[in-house]
């Protein structure tokens, strides 16, 4: 004895319930995903922190000094002396070389057996 309106309303109700359920379920899934990503981020951040501390530990000047002392015979590292530090303008100018072009045989003359380049000019057919 259901009237059309009743059926319609029941259908609407069921649909609404289904929609609500789906939305809620999706939201929960998204939330779980966010949490998992946040956990991953935190893990990565912690790892970065540990690695940074590790890097800092490995590059401690005291450690590097100890290592360079141990491997002195192979590395032969010594502290930089003041006289070893110069700026580019302090460097002596490169010695100027005068090329002896007079005694060299002139090139590009007829009968000169020089190496030929790979260029083929259009005017000559071979």
């Amino acid at each position: 004895m259901f009237r059309t309106l009743d059926i319609l309303l029941i259908a609407v109700m069921v649909a609404t319930a289904a929609f609500t359920y789906k939305t809620k379920h999706d939201a929960e899934r998204q939330l779980a995903e966010i949490k998992s990503i946040q956990r991953d981020i935190r893990y990565e951040q912690d790892t970065i922190d540990v690695l940074e501390a590790d890097w800092s530990l490995l590059t401690q000047p005291s450690r590097l000094q100890r290592l360079s002392e141990i491997y002195q015979s192979e590395l032969e590292l010594t502290p930089v002396e003041a006289h070893q530090i110069v700026e580019i303008i302090d460097l002596p100018a490169a010695p100027l070389e005068i090329e002896d072009i007079l005694s060299r045989p002139l090139g590009g003359m007829a009968g000169d057996v020089g190496p030929t380049d790979g260029t083929v000019t259009g005017g000559i057919r071979q």
Partner: protein, 573 residues
């Protein structure tokens, strides 16, 4: 609702026609009652739905709080990293996992012990077994595991075993910068050094409010340079060993900005394991210890005399005879027994000459000058461990005379370096800082304490002392080092002892326009070889040379070989 309505309708139909008036009245009366019932019910339902709706709206409007519920968890409180001026990590937080068990939920204690000990071979089997069998709710098994160990235990999948993350302060450099960095307590609160300074700047309140949990904190940058800091500590360690000193300390101070680039005091402690940090012998001597600085104080007396314009560089003073005042006799260690000019007094470190210079200026003016260059007040810096200098209650002529060569008042070494920087940088007193500061920022707080002319004269005297005087061993070719030695006799049982010394060397480089001031102190150094001297010129000076030669290039000072010390004298005149 409908049902009750129908029932009422049928009762009405059943009534006799004779009592129609009564019935009508009844209908009327029941009808109005029904209507009021309707209204009540509707109102009730409306109320409930309005409540639900309102709550929904409320949920929709407010932002959900996703913050970690354990905001008050003290073990997860984080602190900002502390980095040096180049961004190298000096102090950081690392997360460590600690292993605990819930003995009540342990199924097989034997198996559990066996499995855990496969990962942690040094675990005490008996104690662990007893703990697991105790039946209590909670028991720690091992604190601070490495991430690798944690992973392996997780893989074992033992029921009733869990991890709790804890944050721990970690100092990768160990003792390298211990006194500057300070310490934190078990609750990760700063208790000393820059760690305490960070807390005092309002960080402690943030931490209290639980706002620092999981928040990304900006690192705190210090003015220290880790490389120079290491060099300073390394040089001090070898100096302490070579000269059998009971303590040593050094500071490298930027003369133009007041930044402390390196500061070390030995013996020190490892902040990662500070079991001995509170021993009296391990205090920060550079800022929390006061000493009679000895002859380095002649720098200030000379500067005062020149700045007063009562004394000029060419003036001569009679140093032929010791001064007798009250029951004291003041004589010279390296006596020349003749009239000495001001530069000669400085390079021969003449007590008599310096005392006479102080006398020329007068006692009142002497105290006023030391006050002006900040040697009588507690210095203003970030470090909490700063001692107040001591001075005589009443300044008499005798006090002025002894203080002129560094006896009778005590200051902190860092303060001495600060005052020396003021005399050499053109006359500007800049309070030392452990945070980065630019020259412009320093200009704003700087106080002109001596004239530029006096400053030029001091540069000349400093350099002269390294070229011809007691500071020859501090010279580093190329860096034009200038400096003043100080060998003070220590007070033992109320008397000045002649074999226990407190040595200092106050240096600046390059002397033509000092960028850095280096001060080294050595407490009770012994002669390197029997029969050799143990004055500051033979132990503190070479230590300064070692520090400068190794760190100058890192500090960005360009070596130059063409310097003429005559030019310094000319620039003064």
């Amino acid at each position: 609702m409908k049902l009750s309505l129908r029932r009422k309708a049928s009762t009405i139909r059943l009534t006799e026609p004779g009592d129609s008036i009564v019935v009508e009245g009844a209908i009327k009366s029941t009808g109005s009652r029904t209507r009021s019932r309707f209204a009540i019910t509707i109102a009730l339902f409306m109320g409930v739905f309005a409540l639900i709706g309102g709550r929904l709206v409320q949920f929709g409007v407010t932002n959900p709080d996703f913050r970690h519920p354990a905001a008050a968890d003290r073990n997860l409180v984080s602190r900002p990293n502390i980095v040096d001026r180049n961004g190298e990590v000096l102090a950081t937080d690392i997360k460590t996992a600690s292993l605990f068990a819930e003995p009540r939920r342990i199924v097989d204690a034997d198996e559990a012990v066996e499995m855990i000990s496969s990962v942690l071979p040094d675990l005490d089997l008996n104690t662990t077994y007893r703990r697991l069998r105790s039946g209590t709710g909670f028991a720690w098994l091992r604190r601070e595991l490495t991430p690798g160990q944690q992973n392996e235990i997780l893989k074992l999948g033992i029921p009733g075993i869990g991890f709790r993350t804890e944050k721990r302060r970690f100092y990768p450099g160990g003792p390298t910068a211990s006194h500057v960095l300070g310490l934190v307590n078990i609750d990760n609160q700063g208790t000393a050094g820059m760690e305490k300074y960070v807390d005092d700047q309002g960080f402690a309140e943030l931490q209290e409010a639980g706002l620092t949990v999981g928040a990304a904190l900006q690192p705190v940058r210090l003015s220290l340079d880790l490389r120079v800091q290491h060099i300073v500590r390394d040089e001090l360690m070898s100096a302490m060993e070579r000269y059998q000193a009971i303590a040593a300390g050094a500071v490298v101070l930027n003369a133009k900005t007041g930044e402390v680039v390196a500061m070390s005091s030995l013996p020190d402690y490892d902040p990662n394991n500070p079991y001995n940090a509170l021993e009296k012998d391990r205090l920060n001597r550079m800022s929390a210890g006061v000493f009679e600085m000895g002859s380095t104080f002649k720098t200030f007396t000379t500067a005062m005399a020149l700045d007063s314009e009562k004394v000029h560089l060419g003036d001569k003073f009679d140093a032929t005879k010791p001064i007798r005042i009250a029951r004291f006799t003041i004589s010279d260690f390296h006596g020349k027994r003749r009239w000495l000019s001001v530069p000669e007094i400085f390079i021969y470190s003449s007590n008599i000459g310096t005392a006479k210079m102080a006398d020329t200026v007068g006692t009142e003016a002497h105290r006023a000058f030391l006050k002006r260059i900040g040697l009588l007040d507690r210095m203003q810096t970030e470090l909490p461990e700063v001692a107040r200098p001591t001075e005589p209650k009443e300044w008499k002529k005798l006090h002025s005379i002894t203080i002129s060569f560094g006896h009778g008042m005590a200051t902190t070494p860092l303060q001495t370096a600060m005052a020396a920087a003021a005399l050499l940088n053109g006359g500007k007193l800049i309070q030392p800082t452990f945070l980065p500061r630019t020259e412009r920022e320093a200009e704003l707080t700087a106080v002109q304490v001596v004239s530029k002319k006096t400053s030029d004269a001091m540069r000349y005297l400093f350099r002269l002392n390294v070229e011809k005087g007691s500071g020859r061993r501090a010279d580093v070719p190329g860096y034009f080092v200038g400096g003043k030695t100080g060998t003070a006799e220590k007070v033992i049982n109320g008397r000045y002892s002649s074999d226990k010394r407190f040595n200092a060397f106050l240096a600046a480089f390059p002397a033509n326009d000092p960028r850095y001031v280096v001060l080294v102190i050595l407490d009770e150094p012994k002669p390197e070889k029997p029969g050799a001297g143990a004055t500051a010129g033979v132990n503190a000076a070479p230590t300064v040379a070692g520090i400068i030669s190794r760190s100058a290039s890192l500090l960005g000072v360009k070596p130059e070989f063409g310097h003429e010390s005559k030019a310094l004298l000319i620039s003064h005149q």
